[in-house]
Symmetry: C2
């Protein structure tokens, strides 16, 4: 049965955050990203594919699976060059339990607006087995396709909580490390089993509201001329140093 | 005097690599990036600005400076929302002298096609005071606006050579470190005063032609689920470890 106009309109609307929020759904398109999320066990609720899709096309009886024509895909797609697969997932938000940040490693993103950076940071948190990511509400939307693409499947593996950082960090007993241009040399970090690492945006750094909750600042020694590092590359270096000393 | 149609066509054409190469010129637009490059001392040859530009608008007699109207800027601009400044620079390529890679630190980019990643890697090379970046010809074009934007001014400070890596690396006496998913733990690196660090593309890694020139591979210990790291974040960790042990 061909897709109705209303179905197409509903699916197309998911490229906008307000519609994603209203429907509680998000979408990813493309063989690569859908394949990564399926490989990570992500439970999509709807999956539209053309015959060109080789991912799970052999299981058309699966709930939520619908074989569509390339013409239908072209109408659904958010891209000028549609791929062979369009997958819809439920927006699920994990509430932050009281005391959760006291244990293990948390990567807290304070207003990181570039979706590629947010995705790259999820991937880092996954690589370094951080227990969770804490995303400030003014960061890029976790359920945007650009964030999910850049996460390379880590979206499905990392626990992410969205919460105002100042509130979430109030009363946390684990040390809260702020990455900044001034602070203790990251190479002299002492071993930490529990820690929150706060990464600010490149433009404004860690926000004023969050600063009172920072236990101490860490900085990456600089040798040359750049004024700062990209947020994700700075976070990578801090995560590597934290893990290195925990060995 | 208003800009002629021919002048506008010439300036607009610079958003395409083939025209940049033909004219030997490149363009950057926007107060931020133009300001960064001016601050780094980059010698633009033409600078078009509207009255809204606050950068050097007080020096309209400067050679190459031309005050234009917002309507003219809208015709020049490569962006839907034009900024107040449009700057043209000469494409200058620094030849790679024989033996140059034997001394100091080189960051070699092997087919890094994402311009944001190339810019971020220039910024890293600048931060860590690498002596040069070696860019394979199949990497993103150094003179594209996206690369220059992402470099945050480091474009003007880092020496970049574009050359086929396999040829450039042949006969190099400094150790050539390949970043890969398998190799020596980056945390056990021995101090190196001279080294070439090769970063491959995320999709295919270090190319076959380059592999015979790699002295040894280094890898970043992984603790979690991600299959790989973004090229720039991996490079950041390797650069930090190299600098850390050279202290």
């Amino acid at each position: 049965m061909p897709l109705t106009k209303a179905e197409i309109a509903r699916l197309r609307s998911l490229q906008e955050k307000k519609h994603r929020e209203a429907l509680g759904l998000f979408v990813v398109e493309g063989e690569k990203v859908v394949g990564e999320l399926l490989a990570a066990g992500f439970p999509f609720v709807e999956l539209y594919a053309t015959e060109a899709w080789t991912g799970r096309a052999s299981r058309p009886d699966e709930p939520g699976f619908k074989l569509i024509t390339p013409a239908e895909m072209a109408r659904l797609s958010h891209y000028p060059t549609p791929s062979s697969v369009f997958a819809v997932g439920k927006i699920a938000r994990t509430p932050l339990a009281a005391g959760a940040l006291d244990r293990g490693l948390t990567l807290a993103l304070d207003g990181i607006q570039d979706p590629g950076n947010v995705g790259t940071l999820l991937r880092l948190a996954d690589w370094f087995a951080f227990d969770r990511v804490l995303l400030s509400p003014d960061s890029a939307d976790l359920f945007s396709q650009k964030v999910i693409n850049a996460s390379m499947g880590s979206f499905a593996r990392v626990t992410v909580h969205t919460a105002p950082l100042a509130e979430a960090l109030a009363g946390v007993t684990a040390p809260v490390l702020g990455c900044d241009l001034k602070g203790e040399d990251v190479h002299t970090l002492k071993p930490l089993r529990d820690a929150v690492v706060v990464i600010g945006s490149e433009g404004r750094g860690i926000t004023e509201a969050v600063r009172p909750h920072v236990t101490y600042y860490v900085t990456i020694p600089k040798y040359g001329g750049a004024e700062s590092l990209n947020a994700a590359t700075a976070a990578a270096i801090v995560c590597d140093n934290l893990r290195r000393i925990a060995k």
